[in-house]
């Protein structure tokens, strides 16, 4: 159990993680029933950005932290298992100092659909499942697992598969940043030709784009 001052409990939301934007410094506390029992999750937030995560198994007395924990929370969110979210004010720095494993490696708030590069990069880190990406004239479908893109294929505008589909997405980054969007969903079945070998390529490529934009903004 983490220290903190209870602020409110929310039940009216479309995406519980969007509530992170309402937290100056503190955490969201959410619970859900999964196949393996009752779970309690904490999402640590500072200035609206997710910085840490913890999931505890209530009756099993075990816990996981960091990206792994957030993956589980995001999975519960995607499956609409979260009915209520409690908001707490807390000293996040001191919590993370005493529990450094709770740090997450992504920046931003992943969401089930969106247009923002930070959200998409965060999604790539934590999501397990299919994602459709489109920029109006072209569309692709990828399968993400444990921070890696395992399969990909173009579904509109070209017929690239596997690593070539990833390169095709990266070539269209310019369009994607202006007109693109992504949505998570159950993918169609991928075939062996869709297998991606360079599973980090999309994330690394997009992180470079992000860095480039940051530098350009600086000038």
């Amino acid at each position: 159990m983490l220290p903190g001052k209870y602020v409110d409990v929310m039940t009216d939301f479309s995406d519980p993680l969007e509530l992170a934007g309402k937290v100056r410094e503190g955490y969201l506390k959410l619970a859900w029933k999964s196949e393996s029992g009752l779970k309690l999750g904490y999402v640590l937030v500072k200035k609206g950005v997710i910085v840490g995560s913890l999931v505890e198994e209530i009756l099993g007395n075990s816990s996981i932290s960091g990206d792994e924990a957030f993956r589980e929370i995001f999975d519960a969110v995607k499956r609409s298992l979260i009915g209520a979210v409690e908001i707490y004010e807390a000293d996040v720095e001191s919590i993370l100092e005493s529990h450094p494993r709770m740090y997450v490696t992504f920046v931003g708030v992943p969401s089930k659909s969106g247009r923002d590069l930070d959200s998409f990069l965060a999604l790539l880190r934590v999501y397990r499942g299919g994602v459709e990406i489109q920029d109006g004239s072209k569309a692709w479908e990828i399968y993400v697992e444990n921070g890696r893109v395992k399969a990909a294929r173009a579904i509109k505008g070209s017929d690239y598969r596997g690593d070539d589909a990833i390169k095709d997405i990266l070539r269209e980054t310019g369009h994607l940043l202006t007109d693109g969007m992504y949505t998570v969903g159950d993918p169609h079945e991928f075939s062996p030709e869709d297998t991606v070998r360079r599973t980090d390529l999309l994330r690394e490529g997009l992180e470079l784009v992000k860095e480039k934009r940051k530098v350009e903004k600086g000038f």
């Binding site: 409990v9 309690l40 209530i58 009756l59 009915g83 209520a84």
Partner: protein, 117 residues
């Protein structure tokens, strides 16, 4: 919907079961760490105990209000508080549970249930 409340209370040492129950005895949501506890059955009985306590309060104190109902047996305790107009929140505990701590958690979580219903 009340998983957060149930998880919070089940984390307290000695708490074996938690239930959110409508005042007419229907289980809204509940969970027990001990599989021998039939939460649905307990829910119906708890609502009856709570209703009877209200009647006693009305008869004796001329006020139909009860802060907390505690049933103590050699094998454990059942503690119930009102959670909004139409529900109660109840916990089943070991006999040697820290009652002060359980009461604090119960009151706090009853307020959450009331605001969520």
């Amino acid at each position: 919907m009340f998983e957060n409340v149930i998880a919070d209370l089940l984390r307290v040492d000695g708490v074996k079961g938690v239930a959110v129950v409508s005042k007419d005895g229907l289980l809204i949501e509940g969970q027990a760490s001990d599989r021998t506890i039939d939460v649905e059955n307990v829910a119906a009985m708890v609502a009856t105990i709570y209703g009877t306590s209200l009647n006693v309060s009305k008869e004796v104190f001329h006020e139909e209000a009860v802060d907390m109902v505690t049933l103590e047996s050699p094998k454990g305790k059942i503690i119930t508080v009102e959670a909004g107009e139409n529900a109660v929140l109840t916990v089943l505990t070991d006999p040697k549970v820290n009652l002060g701590l359980v009461r604090i958690y119960l009151k706090r979580n009853a307020q959450k249930v009331a605001s969520m219903l």
